[in-house]
Structure formats: structure tokens, C-alpha cells
């Protein structure tokens, strides 16, 4: 048809003065920003350490977390081989902490992951389609929203009964509404922007608009929000276990450990606090890392 190639030499002299742009791809930019964000790097490595220690618990744990001993009950920190002391059945706290991390982290991450997929898709669908679909999805979600999250988790867990799986299911249900709402808000903001119409004008179908343009703009906020929910989930899971609804003894779990050690708070307060400190450190780290990612992943900054 026509010659589409033109030499760059023909470029307008007027535009030569245009500002110099950085040449980095998106992930390079994110990586570059993270490299100088020491806070995020530090807390990120703590998170990785915690996850690794949970994964390799069988190799790291000095003792069997289930083995009790009557003579070593409620020993203080640093007693003999027990670095963090023992609980009231004489089990090694450090080993239980490492093993407990597996369950606590799983309870923190899995429900958020599933809720992100389910709630995120529901929200994107509601936001993109609008109208009656939006009404149906969002009003249903609002019903769940009416309850405080811990109350909802307790109610669902209570109805389903204890156990890790039921605990996760109830937490998933708790996290779907807020994620759905975040996805819906972000999507309906993006849906009416010109570039969606521009994409349609260049022949993009509905599916490819959702996949490329909607998800591209919405995934960032959703992921950042869900990463901040991980710490909430760990806390809620611990709360459930504390109430006896999540994990059942003798399974080691941070919340459950906190609950059982609670009775010994006057005898051995330091040891009592250890599972709580683990929960605190983990959730603070997750929060700070998600904060750091939020600022690193925003291209418009």
C-alpha cells in the first residue's frame, strides 16, 4: 500500500528538546526502586526468613514438638537445651514455634490467596459489567460486610466446627467481601477511561480488554490490598485458634500456644509472650513489605 518506513533523520527538530525519558521496563523500574528502599528490603528478608524457617522446621527444630515431659514443665528461657523454655506439658517452645509457623503462615496466606482470586474476579466482573450484575454481586457482598470480620469468622467457624480446613474456609469467606469491593471500585474507575474505548476502537474484544487493560490497571491495587490482609489473616487465625475454633490441640499453632500458655502467665510471663511476639513480628513485617511494594509498584509516581 504505502511505504510505512521513514528514517528517523526526518524527525522534527522542534521535538529534539523534549525531556529525556528513562529507559527501563516496568519490572526493572520496580526492582530499581526496591534496591534503595532499605526498610522494605530489611522487612522483606525477615518475612522470607520466617517463611523459610517454617518450611524447614523439621530440620531446624531441636526437639519433637509433640513430645511432653513431666519434669521439664514450664521451664524459663534458656533452661538446659530449651532455648525458649517449655510449656505446661514440658514441650519445647522453640520447636513448637517453628512447626506452628507452618500452620499460622498457611492460615495467613491461603485464605487471602483464594479470596483474592474469588473476590477479585467477582469485583472485576461487577465493576466491568455494571448494571444489574453489579447490583446482584455488590449487594450480596454488602450483607457479609455488615458483620465485623472477627465475629463473622467466629460465626462461620463455629457453624462449620473446628479444624484447620474449616478455619481457612471461614477466613476465606471473611476476606472475599473487602477484596471484591476493592476490585469493583478500581474496575469501575478504569472502565470509563478513554483508553478502554480506545482499545475497543482498535478492535479489542471484551475479554482482551478485561485481560489487558482492566487487569493491568486493577491488579496492582488488589495485590497490595491483599498483601496487607495477610497479617490480618494471621491475627484472625490466631484468634480463632485462641478461641478453640481453628486448630485443635496438640497441633502447634501460634494462637493456640498463646491460649494454652495464658494460664501460666504468673509463673512464667516471658515464655508466655513468645508466641504473641512471633505473631506481632510476622504481621508487622507483612504490613511493612506490602507498604513498600505499594510505593515501588506504582508506575505513575
Amino acid at each position: 500500500m504505502t511505504d510505512i518506513t521513514a528514517t528517523p533523520a526526518q524527525a522534527h527538530a522542534v521535538d529534539q528538546a523534549a525531556p529525556v525519558v528513562r529507559v527501563r521496563s516496568y519490572w526493572q523500574t520496580v526492582g530499581y526502586r526496591l534496591r534503595y528502599d532499605y526498610m522494605t528490603l530489611f522487612f522483606g528478608s525477615v518475612v522470607i526468613l520466617i517463611i523459610l524457617s517454617a518450611i524447614f522446621a523439621p530440620l531446624l527444630a531441636p526437639m519433637d514438638p509433640y513430645e511432653s515431659s513431666l519434669i521439664n514443665r514450664l521451664k524459663p528461657m534458656g533452661y538446659k537445651d530449651f532455648l525458649f523454655g517449655t510449656d505446661k506439658l514440658g514441650r519445647d517452645i522453640l520447636s513448637r514455634l517453628l512447626y506452628g509457623g507452618r500452620i499460622s503462615l498457611a492460615m495467613g496466606i491461603m485464605p487471602v490467596l483464594i479470596a483474592t482470586i474469588v473476590g477479585g474476579s467477582l469485583g472485576v466482573l461487577a465493576g466491568f459489567l455494571g448494571g444489574k450484575t453489579n447490583m446482584a454481586i455488590m449487594r450480596t457482598v454488602d450483607v457479609f460486610y455488615a458483620f465485623p470480620s472477627i465475629l463473622l469468622a467466629v460465626a462461620i467457624s463455629g457453624a462449620l466446627g473446628g479444624g484447620i480446613f474449616n478455619g481457612m474456609a471461614s477466613l476465606t469467606l471473611v476476606f472475599i467481601p473487602p477484596l471484591c469491593r476493592v476490585a469493583e471500585t478500581a474496575t469501575s474507575q478504569v472502565r470509563n477511561l478513554d483508553f478502554v474505548e480506545a482499545a475497543r476502537a482498535t478492535g479489542a474484544g471484551t475479554l482482551s480488554i478485561i485481560r489487558v487493560h482492566i487487569l493491568g490497571n486493577v491488579l496492582g491495587p488488589i495485590l497490595i490490598y491483599s498483601s496487607s490482609l495477610v497479617s490480618v489473616s494471621i491475627l484472625l487465625a490466631s484468634g480463632l485458634s485462641f478461641l478453640g475454633l481453628g486448630v485443635t490441640p496438640p497441633e502447634p499453632d501460634w494462637g493456640l500456644m498463646l491460649n494454652t500458655l495464658r494460664g501460666a502467665i504468673y509463673i512464667n510471663p516471658m515464655v508466655c509472650a513468645i508466641p504473641g511476639v512471633a505473631i506481632l513480628i510476622t504481621s508487622v513485617c507483612f504490613n511493612l513489605v506490602s507498604d513498600g511494594l505499594r510505593s515501588a509498584m506504582d508506575v505513575r509516581m
Binding site: 525519558v21 516496568y26 489487558v212 490497571n217
Partner: protein, 338 residues
Amino acid sequence: MSNGSSAPLVSVEDLNVKFVSRESTVNAVNDVNLTLDPGEVLCIIGESGSGKSVSMRALLRLLPERRTKITGALEVDGKDVLALKGKELSDFRGGLVSMIFQEPMTALDPVYSIGHQIAETVRRHEGCSMEKGLERALELLELVKVPSAERRLKAFPHELSGGLRQRAMIALALSCRPKLLLADEPTTALDATVQIQVLILLRKLQEEMGMGMIFVTHDLGVAAEIADRVAVMYAGRIVETGTVQEVLNSPRHPYTQGMLSSTVHGNMRGKDIEAIPGSPPDLRSLPTGCSFAPRCRIADDGCRAEVPAEVTLGPGRIARCFKLDETAAPKIREPMPA
């Protein structure tokens, strides 16, 4: 162009667009007839809400389907636009016809680089790999004279200036060699110096690639710069069509005349600019007769009773007015510099 025959590239007959909602019906476009030959530039001029953009979006079927009623015959390159479905429609949009938007900041996706967005469109239409698409994107950026195109390929929209962004938008629109380019006020959001560069570029590309172009604007100066033919829209109707010289130098419709005399042109210092009294009619309830009648200085009862039909004044020169004899008198004013 390869199709040889003198068949028009675009033909629009009796196009009506209505936006239907529970409360009211907005008659956005009424009985519009248009033709565009291959390689021709048609400028649609009109004030805000006169149905310029809506007509263009109807040509691409971009209007929300549920709330819009489109009637009439729309044909582009022999294809019935209103009958296109699914895959055909996707191929049509961007392949045969593409569109440049007014606001380059919002018309480009902020989370993807310029190159990625162009490559994505090329890939969609030509089914090639992303690498091929990126090569193509580089060629296109050079074509639209983006300096140091290779570096700009990886730039995000917010990292570019307004003019460069609009050039990238043009590159995106041209990515699949369309036969028809729709430009919806592409220079309105740019400042004056960049405006003229973009106009010259568009005109040049249009000539090189032999595209037909429909250019929507409310700026008469822009129209004079770029158009071969001009169509003036008022309240959803085309009130006057003709070549750019005919319409701008000897307008026949009272609206066009009023519009031209309300622009600033040479030696008028100290003199008030004429304005058209009143404001455009409400598109939800158009007056029964000529929609310009309430503001027209020569309208009479006949004008208010019936909508004037199209009167052919010459080849391709049409006006919708009952009083064309009166408006033919040469006005006492200097011609628009073309």
C-alpha cells in the same frame, strides 16, 4: 488506492442516533448524510453537543449498545457497519477504520509502555509475535516522527510530553494501515505550537498512506488547515457541506455565516465580535422546524413549521435552509484566509 473504482470510502445515509433512557430520549444525530472519497479529508465542524463525536462513534459502533438506537445506512469500504458482528467487528475496528482521541493522556493505558501498546494492537490484528509487533511499533514511532524512537518505545505515557503522546496515539491508530482515520479533536488538548505540528503530520501521513480521514473539530482555523471538504453540524444535523473554500469563503447557511463572523480575524481591533444570540436547542426536545430558527436572524414562520430539506447548490455543495436566496448576498467581510 487499490479499489480503483470511484465508489466512496464512507457513505452514511439517514443516520439517526438516539440515546434512550427512562426519562427522556436524546436525539443526538438526525438524518445525517455523508460521503467520503478515498484519500479525502472531511472536517466536521460544530459546537459542543452538535453530534460530531457521536456520528464518529456510530461509524465505529463505539456507542453503548443497550441505550443507543442507531438507524440508517452506514457503509465503509463496501461493508455494512451496522451488520458487523464479533470477529468481523474487531477486524473492522483498528483494521479498516481507526480513531484518534482528543485526550492523549487518558487514551493511552498508563500501565503499559507505548511500544507494548502498539505491539499489542499489531499482534491482535496480524497475529504476529510480540517481537514482530515491537519492530513494527518502532517503525511507526519513526513514521510519526518521535525523536529517539527506540528509547521512547519503552516509555510510559506519563513520561512523554503532550505532543509526543498524541504522536504515539497516532502511531497506535495507524498500526494496521487503516483506510479510514477518524480524528476526534486530536489537537484540542495540545498547545498551539504543538497543534500545528500534529496537524501537518496528520495531513502528510494521510496523503502518504492514501487514507480517508474524518476530522472533528470546533476550531475553524484547524479546519481551514487540514480539510478538503467541510460539513457543518448543528443540533445533530448537517446544515451545510462543501469544499473548504466554498464553506469558509462563501457560507450559505445562516449558522455557518454567524459562526464565521464570530471568529477573530484581521483588523477588527476595537470592534466587538459578532455573536450568535441564544444557545443551541435541547436535544431532548428539538423544535419542530429548523433547529436553528430560534437563533436565526432571517427565520420566519415557514422555518419554524418544517425542517428544511437538503438543497443541492452545486456538486457536493449542500445546505439545509429555506432562505438560501437571501443568504447568497455577499457579506461585507473579508474572506477567511485558507
